[in-house]
Symmetry: C2
Subunit: 110 residues, 2 copies
DNA sequence: ATAATTAGATTACTTTTTGTAACTAATGCA
DNA sequence: TGCATTAGTTACAAAAAGTAATCTAATTAT
């Protein structure tokens, strides 16, 4: 029935998880703190926290604690995470070429 | 607050829509009928139908009707859809290199 | 004309996932 | 002591996803 390569399917399901792509995009720019990502992305703290835990579990994101005042926690991409850069870059290129700006709040009437 | 390019964000939200990546993967192999995709993908008819309508609306997928007996309807990628090939190929490469087969039914105990 | 076949849409219903806002924990400073 | 700051967590309501069964349209053999 299902003709897909299990690794590919797993990768697709992971990368299709809402907000994961945008979080990867943020982290490709460099280390980020929780609150920076929360400010930059259209996503609530609860979901950001969920997604960061997922990505950490998958070995894509690393969490680094700096015991300063106030405490600073930085998220960075692992090698596995950085290896996703081509995917994100391709999506950026595609978006520039094909996604119509007008259509962004795309709520066509029925 | 939100620092993202609107086109990129829209592309990300679209491509992160569940099953869209797998549907694109199917269609990159060539024209497909509804029932073929339903058989190949781990997705119900209702969702497949929803996603095909979304992709058609976005100009990524084309729906072609052949009035044979019985009627045949084929889905293909538009130019905009075919332009997503690099994204899918990158994900395949990444999956082969980094996704661990063991971990596919990834349900770690808490 | 009517029943059978195929594609795909729709409906009704349950389960998951989201989003929001209020709350907690750890730390150091006034 | 108690307030400010960062980084989350919890509880709960709302939205979306998932399933299976049913429905519709086109065609054609009877």
């Amino acid at each position: 029935m299902n003709q897909l390569c299990p690794r590919f399917e797993k990768a697709m399901v992971l990368l299709s998880t809402r907000w994961v792509g945008l979080i990867l995009f943020e982290l490709l720019k460099g280390a980020k703190r929780f609150s920076e990502m929360e400010a930059d992305l259209p996503i609530s703290g609860r979901l950001l926290s969920d997604r960061l835990k997922l990505l950490e579990k998958e070995g894509i994101v690393e969490r680094n604690i700096y015991s300063e005042f106030p405490v600073r926690i930085e998220y960075t991409l692992s090698e596995k995470g950085k290896a996703l850069e081509p995917v994100i870059k391709d999506i950026q290129r595609w978006a520039e070429e094909y996604v119509i700006a007008d259509d962004i709040h795309g709520k066509e009437a029925e």
